[in-house]
């Protein structure tokens, strides 16, 4: 089959420049047909989602705002290995590692933890490569199902640990699992 005969939609028609017949030239029939189509749509069910009251449900793999996970005992999973920062194509992630002390055992799961963990949301492209790269299952984009909020200055888009890490209760209740 020649390529020009293939029609994926099954509705392909060839363009012709033949002269219009009398009935086509006075437009009336076609206009009435068209108006029947529009009036049918007039009474159709509307597909609008009334946004603030109704929201569209996100797909389960929707990549929204990042979360840094805690385990079931409420300890941060991140070990500040830097693989996420390395994987990030937009170089949006920075972190500073620190060593866990004795009295911080209940806070961090690993011996090394991220003292500072910042994601610049203006740089982030929400590709999810950090999530793939993470060996500790600490960072997720698919779990929050939230957008990044709007802001009025650039500094407000640098999200630190205060905004990224989930709360202890959420970790214990396994809300994000």
């Amino acid at each position: 089959m020649a390529i020009e005969n293939i029609s994926l939609s099954g509705r392909k028609t060839a363009v012709t420049n033949k002269d219009m017949s009398f009935w086509e030239r006075i437009y009336l029939v076609q206009i009435v047909k068209g108006m029947m189509i529009t009036i049918r749509h007039f009474f159709k069910k509307k597909i609008t989602i009334q946004y603030p009251e109704q929201t569209r449900t996100y797909s389960p793999v929707y990549r929204g705002l990042h979360v840094l996970m805690r385990d079931e005992e409420g300890r941060e999973r991140c070990t500040a290995c830097g693989l996420c920062a390395l994987a990030c194509p937009a170089e949006a992630i920075t972190m500073k590692a620190a060593e866990r002390t004795k009295d911080e055992l209940h806070l961090y799961r690993e011996e090394k933890y991220a003292a500072v963990y910042e994601i610049n949301m203006l740089r982030c492209i929400f590709c999810g490569l950090c999530e793939d790269a993470c060996p500790k299952e600490a960072i997720f984009l698919t779990k929050s199902q939230k957008h990044v909020n709007v802001g009025t200055n650039r500094e407000s888009f640098i999200y630190g640990k205060d905004k990224l890490v989930i709360s202890v209760e959420d970790g214990k209740n396994k809300r994000y699992n």
Partner: protein, 343 residues
């Protein structure tokens, strides 16, 4: 000419002005609503329930917008352009008969501003002058796009006026009168003119689309070619006036179509209501009936607008001169034959 007569007419003028404005105001909302519904959306529905306050918000917005006047030597013409457009479109409804005579405490009140025996000619005169607002405003804008839009509007209106006048002649040949009230009275009951002259109706309808500058004939403000045509340079309430005058003339021509072809204020069973429930009740129904017909035609205008794409300019001229004009002439011949045979 006594004072009470003048006061009565002035009050009537005010009422009809308010009615026209109300219809024009809500036409803007209806246009957007109908556009939405036809495109499977809801249209504006945030301001008030069903968006009922939307026109007021739009008005407030237009009033508070910056007033921009281009650097032109014709500032006066630039300012009066929208005014002329608005005034002329308001003039037409003076001769529309809205109902029969109301009788209140033995005094007859006629809900029609001017009962003149050349009403139909008056209507044509008003329509033929309605173009000045556009042309003068467009020329004074000192902008090529505006000028082209104005010239297009002018040429279009002059061409379609010919076919419209001829179709009206065919109608007048049957009715034998130019007075809109008499034409309405002849259609009492269900003897509407549309049943006798469908071809005349078609020609008149197409021409009135062109006269109102509505899609598919809105070449004056053809966005894809002329930015926004004759109101490119207008902002704030001047722009609002142009937009509004379009809706006002749409209201007027819908009312005219219902008077000429759909029996005006007549509705089946009018005499029965008048006999049993009183003249005034029958009249109120009559008023509602003409308003319902008018509203239907306003809806029809919008329905067509969201169905048919804009014509090309040469197609427009071809349709006007090569199809509608000969058709109107043939129509006159047919109607003449009909009048000779059946009257």
């Amino acid at each position: 000419m006594e004072i009470s007569f003048i006061i009565e007419k002035l009050v009537l003028v005010l009422i009809i002005f308010a009615l026209t404005m109300f219809f024009a105001l809500y036409s803007t909302l209806a246009e957007r609503k109908i556009a939405g519904f036809i495109q499977d959306r809801y249209g504006p529905n945030r301001a008030g329930i069903f968006g009922i306050l939307q026109p007021i918000c739009d008005g407030a917005k237009l009033f508070s917008k910056e007033e921009f006047i281009p650097n032109t030597p014709n500032k006066l013409l630039f300012i009066i352009g929208p005014g002329i457009a608005m005034t002329v479109s308001l003039l037409g409804s003076a001769v529309i008969p809205w109902a029969e005579k109301f009788v209140i405490a033995g005094v007859e009140y006629v809900p029609q501003v001017g009962e003149i025996n050349i009403a139909l000619l008056y209507v044509v005169a008003v329509m033929s002058t309605s173009i000045y607002g556009i042309v003068i405003g467009a020329w004074a804008s000192n902008n090529k796009f505006s000028l082209l839009g104005g010239i297009r509007a002018g040429a279009q209106m002059v061409s379609y006026e010919v076919a419209m006048g001829l179709s009206l002649i065919a109608l007048v040949m049957m009715t034998g009168t130019l007075s809109l009230r008499e034409i309405t009275e002849q259609q009492a009951g269900f003897g509407w003119n549309i049943f006798f002259q469908p071809l005349t109706f078609m020609i008149f309808l197409v021409c009135s689309f062109a006269e109102c500058n509505r899609t598919p004939f809105d070449l004056a403000e053809c966005e894809s070619e002329l930015v926004n045509g004759h109101h490119t340079e207008f902002s704030s309430m001047k722009m609002g006036f142009y937009m509004f005058s379009e809706y006002v003339s749409m209201f007027f021509s819908s009312a005219l179509i219902s008077v000429l072809f759909f029996g005006g204020y007549n509705y089946p069973g009018m005499e029965w209501v008048a006999d049993n429930w009183g003249v005034n009740i029958a009249n109120i129904f009559a008023l509602l009936s003409i308003l319902a017909k008018t509203s239907f035609f306003i809806f029809f205008y919008m329905w067509v607008r969201w169905t048919i794409p804009r014509f090309r300019y040469d197609q427009l001229m071809n349709l006007g001169w090569k199809i509608l004009f000969p058709l109107a002439l043939v129509n006159i011949l047919l109607v003449g034959l009909g009048v000779l045979l059946f009257k």
